[in-house]
Symmetry: C2
Subunit: 206 residues, 2 copies
């Protein structure tokens, strides 16, 4: 029995190349969960086959900028001329019906989200060591040594930010990392601050 | 990979009749854990077959009282003329070698432990409702209606103390409750405050 019926906002972050996407995928493949992806909002045009509200929420530049003014994003960024952001109200709607909304996001974006959603669950995915990160970036095979070195330097600047997260999960084995995140989600629901309201109701505690 | 190698102190508490013992037993029957019971210290004489250091640490009254003076108990109480207590150093020794020390204890005792071990993980086991607690006390068959009513009154005084715990776990189904406690243990190890030291070492973060 779950005392907290509201879904959680699960923010999965960490340096580029750490395997955030792979871990998130393994997490969604697990059984018996209520996880959903957060759908981003963007001003770029839909590509062939992309569906509004599923792949992205497609809006105009004016609409997006109005939303920024109204503080309706958990985070947003401009990327080659287009805006991308996480709409706060859409996330809230999902959480209200008990969905755990998973946000897989870069370290800078996660810091923005923390400002707007203090009760989110922030998980920093760490490599087991620097060599592992380097090898993973190399294995992608899409980038030159110079770009990879840049990413390693960026990771070195991001590593110290882990202390701002609630949890640190090492991606030594994808399955282990996903298991641990699932445990975190279960534990977070049992936290007293989240479950005390329903608990009091249930046992008629004044 | 576990970033925190020190074991945790897991305090399982809740009103009499809530099923603490059953949940703890189910927890120990699960696979792949490093759980150990905390062994109590007592001044009563060993019964037939009881082994010192396994069932209890058997000590003299003088030894016990000296330990009280030296603040070497996480909690203690006197019960029909004999002392019973949880020796702090023995618990620490186990935690140092990576064991999760489980303490199943009454609500008053848990409050004492909280004073001495702030970094313990405090879990309040709650019944799904008052009737369930009543039925469970009745089912034991060892107590009269008057004693049961006394226990219910005591539970009513203990329910409001749940807010001092880190987690509230409902014992609707023993297996569910044990699963959730196991998730809590896994999550607690990943908490940033527990894992940041090894993390920094691992990734050479200054």
């Amino acid at each position: 029995m779950k005392l907290n019926e509201r879904g959680l906002l699960i923010v999965i972050s960490g340096p580029s190349g750490v395997g955030k996407g792979t871990v998130r995928k393994a997490l969604f493949e697990m059984e018996g969960h209520d996880l959903v992806y957060s759908t981003s909002m963007t001003t770029r045009s839909p590509r062939e086959g992309e569906i509004d509200g599923i792949d992205y929420y497609f809006v105009t530049k004016e609409e997006f900028e109005q939303r920024i003014k109204d503080d309706r994003f958990l985070e947003y960024a401009k990327f080659v001329g287009h805006y991308y952001g996480t709409p706060k109200d859409k996330v809230d709607e999902q959480m209200a019906i008990g969905k755990e909304v998973v946000l897989e996001i870069e370290v800078q974006g996660a810091a923005q989200v923390r400002e707007k959603a203090r009760d989110g669950v922030f998980i920093f995915i760490a490599p087991p060591n620097k060599e592992a990160l380097y090898r993973r970036l190399l294995r992608r095979g899409t980038e030159g040594t110079k770009t990879i070195q840049k990413r390693m330097d960026k990771a070195d600047r991001e590593f110290p930010l882990a202390h701002k997260y609630d949890y640190i999960v090492v991606n030594d084995e994808v399955r282990n990392a996903a298991d641990r995140i699932m445990a975190i989600i279960r534990a977070e629901h049992a936290k007293t601050e989240r479950s005390i309201y329903k608990y009091r109701e249930m046992l008629e505690v004044k």
